[in-house]
Assembly symmetry: C2
Homo-oligomer: 225 residues x 2
């Protein structure tokens, strides 16, 4: 493990062995992201992943019980990471409006000026979350999994953004709706810009993140100020 790598606290019920703690785990995470990006969640299997990292199915199963938990792990990592970015970049800012603007920026871009780890490509992970992330919680067992705390990362992230919203306008009655919608909207609209452009107004695919950030900030301002 690199000397300065950050390790996020992710619910241990998601894995049998923490992939953040071993070389093998790092290889597993890194190539999961790449493979998910290449062939999608439906086509993804532990067998294919094992072959890709010159390993075996049984070894992969020692880390994760199934690909759903792996996807949820990666999604949690993403949520933790965005949360970390928002906390870090708003820490020394006083003005609530500026603080919220920084949050919007990090929600949309989730870009890594300085990557946190050697083994997670944050940009590729963001693309995976855009394409597959919603499948991590649109599952039949959601209520049981929620009881086990598997979505804590997302709930805390939404809670933080919700507070930033309320700082800007304490009278706004729907801070949680706006916060969770900002995340869903950001990922959806990037997905639409790439694949279903008729569903969005983002025309310039070169600077889609910038355009989306502009659109989101425009709406947030109208709603809150």
């Amino acid at each position: 493990m690199g000397r300065f790598d950050i390790k996020f606290n992710i619910n241990p019920k998601l894995f049998n062995r923490d992939p953040q703690d071993s070389e093998y785990g790092h290889k597993l995470l890194k190539n999961s992201i790449l493979l998910l990006d290449e062939i999608g969640f439906e086509g993804f299997t532990f067998k294919k992943l094992a072959i890709r990292i010159d390993s075996t199915e049984s070894s992969v199963y020692r880390y994760f019980n199934n690909k759903h938990f792996l996807l949820l792990f990666l999604t949690c990592w993403y949520w933790e990471w965005v949360h970390y970015l928002i906390i870090t970049y708003t820490r020394n800012i006083e003005d609530p409006v500026k603080r919220l603007k920084i949050a919007v920026h990090n929600i949309v871009n989730a870009s890594n000026e300085s990557p946190l780890t050697e083994y997670i490509n944050e940009n590729k992970l963001h693309e995976v979350v855009i394409k597959e992330g919603s499948k991590a919680y649109h599952v039949h067992d959601i209520d049981e999994e929620n009881k086990e705390g598997l979505f804590k990362s997302y709930k805390e992230l939404v809670s933080t953004v919700s507070s930033l919203i309320s700082e800007v306008n304490p009278d706004f009655p729907y801070p949680h709706i706006l916060a969770s919608n900002m995340f869903e909207m950001a990922n959806n609209q990037i997905f639409f810009a790439e694949h279903l452009p008729k569903l969005t107004d983002i025309k310039n695919r070169q600077k889609k993140y910038q355009d989306l950030e502009g659109a989101m900030w425009y709406m947030v301002q109208k709603i809150l100020m």
Copy 2:
């Protein structure tokens, strides 16, 4: 087929035989919705469906090549239906604000005062779309499927709502973003209210549709007026 049943034009590339045209097809659609609602898309198989309708796997395959196309068919039916509701209920209204308000109402509620068909339970279908609908277009083959026109229903629906938005405020620069986000937001927030309440402000699960409609209209007004 019931005498007054409506039949929507759904892209024939989605099926081998149009299930809207036969008794068997009706049974198939009706029970697909119920079974998807009960066990979720991941657990759903053609075998289970076949057993449920006292039929065989091979007969189901004569209608749909795989469960993805079946889900997309149902989702298209839902989009066509919401589109139909919006067109119908705004037809004789002049005031653009009232027209948009009606659209918001139908997006959120998608309720059937008078069901269109005997074989599709619109309320159950709505629940399935809330839980599973996004999986219909978060697929690896989205670009090819989009080329084949498989998402036309959604694009037209968003286009219609986008126009209603522009009628209210022709200067608003993001009518498509707002329109598509209204659909995504409506279904997501209902899902959150049911399963991840920390992500929303909708507290009263008895009147969640009402509360959500209120929240959405509040934000739409702020954004446009």
